[in-house]
């Protein structure tokens, strides 16, 4: 185990096993602004979501698409920045991509249960 880590002065550590993954201090200092910026953007986007839902885009379906697009952008920022998915290991990306694919499969295949070009039904009714 690497024991070469030098601890910051303000911390009274009693052992030398703290870290082999070196915390790059400057690196994280830089990110604080990013986190606050993304947080601000998300709050702004929430306001936008509410506002857009009262705008008439011609059909309710259009409102849905707009709202889901905004939500997806927000979620993308949370995942990429707060959850560090940007720059995360490929291993994690791999199984998350499969998860998203299966989830989409569950949504769509379930939804189009009754879709039938012969009888002209489109999506689910019961």
């Amino acid at each position: 185990m690497s024991e070469s880590h030098d601890h910051p002065k303000e911390v009274a550590t009693t052992d030398s096993h703290a870290s082999a993954a070196h915390a790059d201090h400057a690196h994280h200092d830089m990110h604080l602004g990013l986190y606050l910026g993304v947080g601000g953007f998300l709050l702004f986007a929430t306001v936008v979501t509410v506002w857009l839902s009262f705008v008439d885009f011609g059909s309710h379906a259009a409102n849905w698409i707009v709202a889901m697009a905004v939500a997806t952008v927000k979620v993308g920022f949370v995942a990429a920045i707060f959850m560090h998915l940007k720059g995360e290991k490929w291993m994690i990306w791999k199984f998350l991509l499969f998860t998203v694919f299966f989830c989409a499969g569950l949504f769509l295949l379930t939804l189009f249960h009754y879709a039938d070009p012969i009888f002209g039904t489109s999506y689910t009714t019961h």
């Binding site: 303000e10 911390v11 009274a12 929430t46 979501t49 839902s53 009262f54 709202a67 949504f107 009714t125």
Partner: protein, 343 residues
């Protein structure tokens, strides 16, 4: 015996155990909420016209809760960054704020939003009787404008009309006294047997119990109507509004026999409330779990904040893991908010 890679990353995967573990767990959470959201889509797409309500939830309150969760997401990631920089007091501050935010979210949900719904009354009118209630529903007007019809009348219960058999009078009186209700007879001249039960504490749940008192039969509901039923043909009622408006002063009367199903805005009321309470309930459980774990990591105990002296990197890892969970909870809410409150 120490499991390898508990704190430090495994060189070839670049991950420490808990980080991989939480991501796997979150993948399964995606599928869990995916199942619930697919139920939402399936039920909503399959709902008959008029059976999927809009504008019943309080948008400003929901937006406030969204903002609180987003803010707490920011503070959790700042708490983690503070630990990475080995700034303990900053960690305590940011983590403390995150805990408070999570708690406020839960309080708003459990102490304000949910109880409000449990007190609200709604009744679906039988298809064959819809015409009778046209003044409250305005379906001719809606048809003209190409809008979906209304089949439900909702509001606050003002009173219920009942008939009671004399044999069960004692039990009925006891019930009324227990629930601080009063009863007046003969207010309907045409039906002298009908008595009106009113009171400040008359909630849909109370009426369900009242119905179980022997000999009592529900005849009609008197409802302080929601704006949408009070003025159904007002163009203002065509679509939901930002500011939530409570029930009006206008009283409407609904005969029990014209009603298909009635209840509070509880899970059993309709598919909408079933999905709403199930998803927000499960989400609330996740918030609760997150808050409890964050409290654990904030308290000066061996597995929590005291780890900082012994092994700050391990504590930072723990905070990162709970942070990932917390961001996921936030992420779910970002979808929940528009699909229930807005769309």
């Amino acid at each position: 015996m120490q499991i390898p890679h508990e704190v430090t990353a495994r060189p070839d995967t670049g991950l420490y155990n808990a980080k991989l573990g939480i991501w796997l767990f979150l993948a399964s959470e995606v599928m869990l909420f995916g199942g619930l959201f697919s139920a939402y889509i399936f039920l909503r797409m399959g709902a008959e016209d008029g059976y999927w309500p809009r504008g019943l939830l309080n948008v400003p309150v929901g937006a406030l809760n969204t903002a609180i969760l987003i803010a707490s997401s920011v503070t959790v990631v700042l708490a983690w960054a503070s630990l990475k920089m080995r700034k303990f007091s900053q960690y305590k501050l940011w983590m403390g704020i995150s805990i408070i935010c999570g708690a406020i979210f839960l309080i708003v949900k459990l102490a304000y939003e949910w109880p409000q719904k449990f007190d609200h009354f709604g009744a679906f009118i039988k298809q064959s009787e819809l015409a009778q209630y046209e003044p409250y529903l305005g379906n001719a007007y809606l048809k003209e404008k190409g809008l979906p019809p209304r089949v439900e009348i909702s509001g606050h219960l003002h009173g219920v009309e009942i008939t009671a058999e004399p044999a069960g009078k004692e039990k009925l009186d006891a019930f009324l006294q227990d629930h601080h209700l009063k009863m007046e007879a003969g207010h309907d001249a045409a039906h002298p047997g009908v008595q009106l039960v009113t009171g400040k504490h008359l909630k849909p749940g109370t009426v369900e119990q009242l119905e179980k008192v022997p000999g009592v039969k529900l005849v009609a509901f008197e409802v302080a109507l929601d704006p949408i039923n009070a003025e159904p043909t007002n163009p203002e009622s065509d679509k939901p509004h930002f500011w939530y408006k409570g029930a009006t002063e206008k009283i409407g009367k609904i005969e029990r026999e014209d009603v298909e199903t009635w209840s509070a805005f509880a899970p059993k009321h309709s598919s909408y409330f079933a999905v709403y309470f199930t998803i927000t309930g499960l989400h609330g459980l996740h918030v609760l779990a997150g808050v409890l774990i964050m409290i654990y990591l904030w308290l000066p105990i061996a597995g929590g904040a005291n780890m900082f002296k012994r092994n700050p990197e391990h504590l930072a890892n723990r905070v990162e893991v709970v942070g990932l969970f917390w961001h996921f909870v936030d992420l779910v809410w970002i979808f929940v908010f528009p699909i229930f409150y807005l769309l």
